[in-house]
């Protein structure tokens, strides 16, 4: 592959509603009416999901989790997009959307089983309209596309009934944009004019590979080649992410078809707790991005422009502490699965051969135990 310059600076075409300094700016295509309470609510979300992340990393260090994929730096992208969803919309995450899970009222503990090694997900995606985490890169974008096909067949798009019209939000990363599955999802949703929004968190890195390994042009432009709109948003700006995703989801619900959103953000932590960034990226890059912190700008805005109660920030801090405790104790309390449970749910009805493997296994385990 030929040489590339690795661009970390947002381009002019970036949608921004709140500057890194916390200045509210307007964008012609994305007007946003939002109350101070709501901004405060978003602040709360951002702080709390960052706290969940911090705790999970600590739990991994302590051996309580086998692995953790940190969302640090991507809180605004996830809360902005997550809060744009209606309860009956459906979200398809990768393995990093802990912030979106939060917006879907998924208890953080529900996410930990996969990383603790006590289950493979183990929840019902339909309970909170939030799919199982998907680790195989890109696969979930096709699931989202198929789900959207179902939505269309259920007559749940373009009816004008806000409680009926449904959109699907598919998350993926900059690296995933190279997978065949993701591009097939673009083909299908465009040709089928499906109610799906593709939300790409371009956090600049796919493990050790810079986004330039995947593409020499901004990723949001990919959509145009498939015949649907693409937009790049400041992924560290929760207001912009909210406004842009809301518009795209509305379009989807109104049978206007798919949109690709590229949230331009940064993976502040290593890829996962297993990764070592010193081998491939400069600390200075991380420093640059610290200046664009998604939380600091909202706090600056709230303190300067908005009238939140004096003790609001303390309350959020307090709430974060309580949440942290919930995550810590809850994680340790997660039940270990029973050995024989590996035979459950492989099939809806267990075939005889598996029954006998199970019986043998159960005898054996008890035998060894005794």
């Amino acid at each position: 592959m030929s040489e590339h310059v690795h661009a970390v600076h947002p381009e002019p075409d970036l949608v921004q509603l709140l500057t890194p300094e916390g200045q509210r700016v307007e964008h012609p295509d994305y007007p946003l009416e939002i109350s101070d309470e709501d901004v405060a609510g978003l602040y709360r979300d951002l702080v709390l999901v960052r706290r969940i992340d911090t705790e999970a990393i600590a739990l991994q260090r302590q051996g309580e989790l086998g692995l953790w994929a940190s969302l640090l730096g991507q809180e605004a992208a996830q809360i902005g997009s997550g809060r744009a969803l209606k309860p009956h919309d459906m979200a398809f995450p990768t393995y990093r959307e802990h912030g979106v899970a939060w917006c879907r009222d998924v208890d953080p503990l529900t996410l930990l089983g996969l990383f603790r090694g006590t289950n493979l997900g183990g929840f019902d995606p339909r309970e909170h309209n939030f799919n199982l985490y998907t680790i195989v890169i890109g696969a979930q974008t096709l699931h989202a596309t198929g789900y959207a096909m179902g939505v269309v067949r259920d007559g749940a798009v373009g009816t004008g009934d806000p409680d009926r019209d449904t959109a699907v939000l598919a998350f993926f990363g900059d690296g995933a944009s190279s997978q065949g599955d993701v591009n097939e999802a673009f083909v299908w949703s465009s040709a089928g004019n499906l109610p799906v929004v593709f939300f790409c968190q371009n956090n600049q890195w796919a493990i050790s590979e810079p986004v330039t390994t995947q593409s020499r042009v901004p990723l949001y432009q990919r959509a145009s080649g498939f015949g649907f709109p693409g937009v790049r948003v400041d992924g560290n700006d929760v207001l912009a992410c909210l406004a842009v995703t809301r518009k795209a989801l509305d379009d989807a619900r109104n049978a206007q078809g798919p949109t690709l959103i590229e949230a331009f953000t940064y993976r502040m932590n290593p890829h996962t707790t297993n990764d070592d960034t010193r081998r491939y990226r400069l600390g200075s890059e991380v420093e640059t991005w610290k200046l664009r912190d998604p939380i600091a700008r909202v706090r600056a805005y709230l303190t300067r422009e908005a009238r939140v109660d004096l003790d609001f920030f303390d309350d959020v801090e307090h709430e974060a502490k309580k949440l942290a405790e919930h995550v810590r104790s809850g994680c340790r309390a997660l039940p270990d699965p029973t050995p024989e449970s590996v035979f459950d749910n492989v099939h809806v009805t267990m075939p005889d051969e598996l029954q006998s493997q199970r019986a043998e296994f159960v005898d054996f385990v008890s035998e060894v135990a005794s």
Partner: protein, 324 residues
């Protein structure tokens, strides 16, 4: 409906019944609409059930299967058509890592009632990639069921049972039998995951499935002329395997020959041989023999009839096994 029909027609009627019976059943694949599929198995279904239920998809197998997963999560019961066996591989990841595992990953909370129809096997004089036998890849994959129909009646009933099954099913259709002789449709199905003794005999057991069954029956007839009574078993389900039915037979005949088109090594015959030998070790007078495709690339069509298991090769194996 006439009760005598070809396998192609039987599949078509079975699909129609399934669609009539459950509005959540959707058919999706390349050319399944107006064309009715390159083999006409879905002939007329789009006309009768509409473009929303019989979907001409873009040309992408991974997406055919991957979107089926999403449809299943939304409550649909997708029936995917893979145009030819050799083209299932671009969809392999979605089948093996998503379809097969989703129910388990969701702790049994989400079901994957997906049927993947694959016109399979050789013998039709096709070009490369159009005559593959892919069942073993899926049989080795936990979470999938793999069945193969060998006659019109089974085709009619098994496709309906596969679609009704809440587990994902790989449905192997022996394409060279699609338009072979018509046959009667039985009034009731034999349960899909049960093997069936299609010819009784006491000297040797011949077990196969799908495309090779006719060869097995001819072989049994020919062997009978030499006084060897071969019992013929149509396994019907490759995974799960109905080993008890095979064991019951082998305990009587003491000899077993397994036949399939897929290459021999690491094929279905190996699993049957291993399991039967383990469970009927003292009943066997001879090792389980295999008459299968060879460990080669599927040959150019001019050579496929030498390459495929055929009457002579099965009779040869019978002679061999009787000598033990």
């Amino acid at each position: 409906m006439s009760t005598s029909m070809t396998m192609a027609k039987a599949l078509n009627e079975g699909l129609r019944k399934a669609m009539e019976g459950d509005p959540k059943v959707v058919i999706m694949g390349e050319d399944v609409g107006k064309l009715g599929g390159v083999f006409r198995i879905t002939d007329g279904l789009q006309k009768d059930f509409g473009e929303d239920r019989v979907i001409d998809t873009p040309l992408a197998e991974s997406a055919i299967v991957g979107t089926a997963v999403g449809l299943a999560i939304r409550g649909y019961r997708p029936v995917c058509e893979i145009q030819f066996d050799g083209f299932v591989f671009p969809g392999f990841d979605q089948i093996v890592s998503q379809v097969a595992k989703f129910h388990n990953r969701s702790a049994g909370l989400v079901r994957m009632p997906i049927t993947i129809r694959i016109p399979s096997g050789g013998g039709i004089g096709a070009v490369e990639h159009h005559s593959e036998s892919v069942e073993t890849y899926f049989a080795h994959t936990a979470g999938l069921k793999v069945v193969a129909c060998a006659n019109p009646s089974d085709a009619y009933w098994m496709i309906q049972e596969a679609i009704a099954d809440d587990d994902p099913v790989i449905f192997i259709e022996p394409k060279r039998l699609y338009h072979a002789a018509k046959d009667e449709i039985e009034d009731a199905p034999t349960p899909i995951y049960q093997a069936r003794v299609v010819r009784p005999g006491q000297h040797v057991t011949l077990a196969g499935y799908g495309p090779t069954m006719s060869t097995l029956l001819e072989s049994a007839t020919a062997a009978a002329e030499d006084g060897i009574e071969a019992e013929v078993i149509d396994l019907r389900s490759v995974s799960p395997l109905d080993i008890p039915t095979v064991l019951e037979s082998v305990r009587r005949t003491s000899r077993l020959i397994v036949v399939h088109e897929a290459p021999q090594s690491f094929g279905v015959g190996a699993e049957i041989a291993a399991r039967v030998t383990e469970h009927a070790f003292y009943s066997l007078e001879a090792p389980v023999l295999r008459v299968t495709g060879y460990d080669t690339v599927y040959p150019p069509s001019r050579l496929e009839h030498d390459w495929l298991p055929n009457l002579d090769r099965v009779l040869d194996a019978i002679d061999k096994i009787m000598e033990y």
